[in-house]
Amino acid sequence: MLLQSAVSPGTHPLAGTIAAWMWAIPLLPLLGFLINGLLSLTAVARFGPADPTAASHAAHGDEGGHGDADHGGHHAARHRFAGITSIVGPGVLVAAFLLAAAIFVRMHALGEMSEPFIQQYFSWMPVGDLSVDVAFRLDQLSMLMVMVVTGVGMLIHIFSVGYMREDPGYPRYFAYLNLFVFCMLVLVMAANYPLLFVGWEGVGVCSYLLIGFWFSEKANADAGKKAFIVNRIGDFGFLIAMFLLFANYGTLDFSALQAVSGQFVFGGALITTIALFFFLGCTGKSAQIPLYIWLPDAMAGPTPVSALIHAATMVTAGVYLIARSNFIFAAAPVAGLTVVVVGALTALFAATIGLKQWDIKKVLAYSTVSQLGYMFVGVGAGAYVAGVFHLMTHAFFKALLFLGAGSVIHVMHQAYHHTGSHDDAQDMRNMGGLKKYMPVTWVLMWIATLAIAGIPPFAGFFSKDEILGTVFQRAEQGSTLAQAHWLGLPGTAVLYLAYAMGLAAALLTAIYMTRLMLYTFHGPNRTGEKEREHLTEAPWIMTGPLLVLGLLSAVGGWFNLPELITHAIPLGPTAALEHWLDPVVGAGTATVVGPGAEATAASTETILIVVAIAIAIAGISIAVAVLKPAALVPKRQAKPEEGFERVLANKYYVDEIYDATVVQGTYGVSRNLLWRGVDVGLIDGLLVNGSAWAARFAGWLGSQLQSGQLGTYAWVLVLGVLLVLGAFHHAVLP
């Protein structure tokens, strides 16, 4: 590795320490990708391409990916290199996590570190005024993200060993998963926007590959394509924002941009446009209205993939991007309010859909969309710490929820496999009463549910409360956001509205999560007599990571305790995360808060916390009181929903509306204008056939001169000679 220099070699306190090895953090997963990818390829070369149909059926039959799959009598052998993959795949992640942890410890020991530690490796695009380096930047924000990505990623990799070991595509699975971690680490460690974009696109590719992992099933391949295409719309926004930044400020480097951020016209049209285009990128990657539609479909991939990519890490890239670009968003209050509004709408909208889904993974998918909405409310309101805090706690409890759901699906599948049943292993109507058979998963899932619902002292309470509290404060204190106007509405009103929508979404979150727990683990068991005998707890390689995530979901909120709580109960240091992130986002937060903001009264803060807890408890109580798991019947006997419930179960028909407008519209334009008009009419008709016609016409004209009459030829000849002679006479003689 050629290590040219840090920004100022030898002067940065991290230079020469273990942090100089930070390039190895992303390269370790890349190494794992190469090894696993080669193993996967050698197997193909040795045996010839496997029959994908048989492979897919075996995959569904043995392991628990997709509920609708046929899991009949096929039985494929375990991949012959499965043993090596089981060591290499999670091994590189463990190594990367240990290295990251060592760097974190070193960085933490420094105390204050105001300057980021930047390593430049080589110049990537030195074109004219544009100079883009391949450089990694280590600051408090990227360190936190690296810890989350490698930490949660490591646990999910270990879980995957149990979940995917019997799949014939096992090395391929780990190759993609390792490649994903590599790209995600490039994304969070990049020192400039283009390199961040490389990681941004890279995780998109891995997401596509893993959603369509069981590609022989057309629905899965389609879901992958949908995710990829919808994300392209967002990436277009990201690119435009980058072009605008470069065209106006001449650089794309984070540090350099931050240095010129004094030139940003506060609230100006240019900076608002840039921020909004960046946010368009975020709506694609982080599944916000209007581009959220790909995320629920992304559940077609293996469940650990849903946990890692479509819940814990990749989809939070948009939140990271805004936190990273806080100096841009802080200068554009209208863009900030847009982020708040879209986030709040998404949080509420997705939560209502989550109320009526029967597929256990779909509930969690809409829950993820909803929680991402919360994060955007946070970062949009200039509460960058709160947004990133919720990103972190969400990574813990949502990964736990997905992996727990994965365990449940795994066990259900095995039971169905033993009896040869073809029922849907992901439908909650087919579950019920699983707490008797899976006590560990049951307890851990409840911890995660309480965390996401916002019950103290679990993780989600602190982060969600901080987001809602900050939005309330921003409205109350007359921050720059509150003074701005959004589509004619005063910012204060928008923020209060977002707060109310956040509370409503919190209530719904508590309801649908309790519903999920009640239907899955409580009440009578609905699997059927024969299947019941095969229901057991998942193996330890799967419950082990769940235990760690359970612990983190329980105490993860203590990383950033509000002062109000540390006053009463000494759980830990006050606002540790806020102090940690202050060098990165402190200035941006201060810009948003504006001068002369007074602190919120402790009494107001107490009321906000009490309201938040009351809402969460109310949600759980409503769900317990209203829902009757005992009255539920298995999917086969279930009646279709009626009325508004049907609208919710069908996700407000958004997919159908998009299909009728956007998809069919594109088809219509392509078919009638581009195909029939431009291609057939203009290119084929006018240019290709037209030039042929013109040549034929010229030939016909010429052929008319050839009368065959010698006399005519003689006349033409003589006239020509006279013409030449005349011209000669005119030219030579005076």
Partner: protein
Amino acid sequence: MLAESLFFSAVLFTIGVIGVLTRRNAIILFMCVELMLNAVNLTFVGFSRVYGAGGQVFVFLVMTVAAAEAAVGLAIIIALFRHRHTVDLQNINLLKG
């Protein structure tokens, strides 16, 4: 002397051209072509009286070529007549495009 011969050859040449342009009979046409060739020969001879005998060499060359041409041309006309039973060029348009 040069002026008179040049004038005379110009007259001959023009008669040849007009014949080619206006007549339809292939034999007559052929004779008119010969007339034009010989008009040129006359200019060569005329000039040779002033500029030396080089022109007379060309005359012999032209006469040789004209003889060969007459042989080939008459043969073609005979072949044409055998096929078409006419030498009227208006009825012959094999070159029509």
